[in-house]
Symmetry: none
Subunit: 411 residues, 2 copies
């Protein structure tokens, strides 16, 4: 089965945004064993969109579009799909009720232009949008061809694709691809690939593929089999071998995140945590609090960017700051211990560093960071030298702090 | 002049990498006043690449390709361009010498497959690769059509495009496109589009286009003229009219962000700020600290997720928490005032709310948020009802808090 992915949006042709949706959908289709013949981006223009549909169906059985489902006249993907298949647009009651509820909740009136979002080609399978107002749809033509229209924003498109489109597409594939994802932190993608290179090169079923995502390195094991159970059996021994080589770095598997894993560990073990942040400026606390159950464990966070705040809030000594500076092993130690004691927490984690772009010296360059973890009366401080811009340094520091907490409490 | 951007690479169709090159080239072409008709990704397959060239030239005068210039048999972009224009491939001496030097330097022998990289269609303009081994080329057909072939890795492609392709393209443009972006917050994309709908529909030069990015709504005014100055003159009256209607919501223009605008305002006015966060868990502080100059203004942040921390750190009264709850106007007020006084700041900003997924009640549903801003002795508290998942509610709360600070101090 061939598929073509068409993004509809003049803003992509103007270079305003990167078309990350195409990558996401391509990878998911590959997992389903569906061949992507082409990716395309076309402007918000009736003729061009129709022309793209026509051309794509010369080689493909299914078109998946992203974008152009919104309330403005520029949004015309659904309309062109209807036109291509010669179907009229009809109001979808359930979607209308959902949209109305959404507007009522926000205290706003549902105006005409918004109603456009809940009209669909007759007989279309409407796909609920769990993260926005524009539902998607699967439109099946009399000629056996199909157009799946999805919203443009990735946070709306991805769950819709996973929850509603993947189950639909499965009927067209006679084998299943099952993937298992192992997530690592603290080892680069290329180093990780080296360690398991023989598996990457020699394995054909399952395959082993490394990839980098933000600042973590991920290994995906993918098996092809008649059913899920067989695929899982194929994966097992390979996973075991990978874990033997990389166990230290693997923090989780599947759809999770370092902050979720740390949040779960903290709550499960009943450990109370407090944070003291300088260069990360609240990002460590913010990540932890992203874990819904964290209120049982998170006591308090202090963002102490200035020296005054470090002394006043955390009890960092003036002599320490004078002698070693704010970015030092000693300050990180006093910060971690200081917040743990001030908050009455079991564990205190601290960050201090030079995120840049200014503030670096020959002795203490931009990217120098100290992370402290105080736990059960002793304090571990680690030094890092990160590369990248201000935001990158702060994100790396945050993730490294979470990983250090994970390693400290995992036993 | 119309252009089409074609990425050649099966790895993109498999979803292994995101096609960021298309965005880069699109934006640069827009700046040159060259219209991008389509972006496309095609696999490493002779027929399909030729077919794409043929189709693209039906609407476009120039094709810009990325990828497929390397030494392997899969790399076939240049070869297909030669075939399309019916030109033979000849060795380019200068490129050969450069390649040989590169291999000598690495102590390696130049083997046959690598020589493939320095063969080009006859009469092609060869583009030096300052960051890799595969040069690019501009190939002009007898029919006036042009194919520009560029390497796939962005760090090779970008400088080649800037240094050699842009100067070449300038001869074909007698006009420039100048865009001005106005960024708004606090008004949805559809509501904003309604307010300026007559301008969107009736304006042709400049054009006015709305779009949504994360949780802000953006308006782009784009004028076409002989030179930049003329284009700017065309933009002025339209911008003035838009500002007249939307002034309250416009927080900045061009490449900026709400946190940068707030950071700049704080530093420029010498206002000292402190933050007290519950549901946002440090995100407000984290955003502010993303602004590099903020250390002059940011005194301290408190992440007080628990009631104990709210009382201990911020002096929120037990009676207030008992009577009104942690998520209430009254608590938000005491938090904002409490952190301002504890930190000795001019301005204190607080957030408290129910981010979900749990914790909601009929009276206080998920998404209910209070934001407080204490400034110069008085405190403003606003109530919000946000929709979306936990992260969305937290991001919206954070951005709304920054916007409330902006509105408070902008006069």
């Amino acid at each position: 089965m061939n598929a073509e992915i068409i993004a509809v949006g003049t803003e992509i042709l103007l270079g305003d945004i990167v078309n990350t949706n195409a990558q996401y959908i391509s990878r998911e289709l590959a997992n389903l064993g569906i061949n992507v013949y082409k990716q395309e981006v076309v402007g918000d223009n009736e003729e061009r969109v129709l022309e793209s549909f026509k051309n794509a169906f010369e080689n493909s059985d299914i078109i998946i579009t992203t974008g152009g489902l919104g309330p403005t006249p520029d949004d015309l993907t659904k309309e062109m799909a209807a036109k291509y298949f010669n179907k009229e647009l009809v109001l979808h009651k359930e979607s209308y009720e959902n949209l109305k509820k959404f507007f009522d909740k926000g205290g706003r009136e549902l105006v005409g232009s918004n109603e456009k979002q809940v009209y669909f080609p007759k007989d279309a399978i409407v796909l609920k949008n769990d993260h926005g107002t524009a539902p998607g749809a699967i439109i099946e033509g009399d000629n056996g061809k199909k157009i799946v229209v999805l919203p443009g924003p990735p946070r709306e498109m991805k769950p819709m694709f996973d929850n509603y489109v993947v189950p639909y597409l499965k009927q067209f594939t006679d084998s299943v691809l099952v993937s298992k994802v192992l997530r690592t932190f603290g080892i680069g993608e290329s180093r990780m690939a080296e360690v398991v290179n023989d598996l990457i090169v020699n394995q054909t079923n399952p395959t082993v593929a490394p990839y980098a995502k933000d600042i973590e390195a991920i290994l995906r094991i993918t098996a092809k089999a008649k059913n899920e159970k067989e695929a899982e059996e194929l994966i097992k021994p390979v996973e075991k071998e990978i874990r033997r080589r990389l166990e230290e770095y693997i923090y989780g598997e599947g759809e999770t995140s370092l902050e979720n894993v740390v949040g779960e560990l903290l709550v499960k073990k009943g450990i109370k945590i407090a944070t003291a942040e300088s260069c990360t400026g609240g990002m460590v606390a913010e990540k932890l609090i992203n874990y819904p159950g964290i209120s049982e464990s998170f006591l308090e966070g202090a963002v102490t960017y200035s020296n005054e705040a470090k002394m006043k809030r955390l009890g960092v000594k003036k002599e320490t700051l004078d002698k070693y500076g704010a970015v030092s092993k000693e300050t990180a130690r006093e910060m971690a211990e200081g917040i743990a004691k001030a908050a009455g927490a079991d564990l205190g984690v601290s960050t201090t560093g030079i995120a840049g772009p200014g503030g670096g010296t020959a002795e203490k360059p931009v990217g120098l960071v100290y992370i402290g973890v105080y736990y059960k009366g002793s304090c571990l401080v680690k030094e890092f030298n990160f590369t990248g811009d201000r935001n990158r340094v702060r994100v790396r520091t945050t993730m490294s702090a979470l990983d250090l907490v994970r390693r400290t409490i995992k036993e």
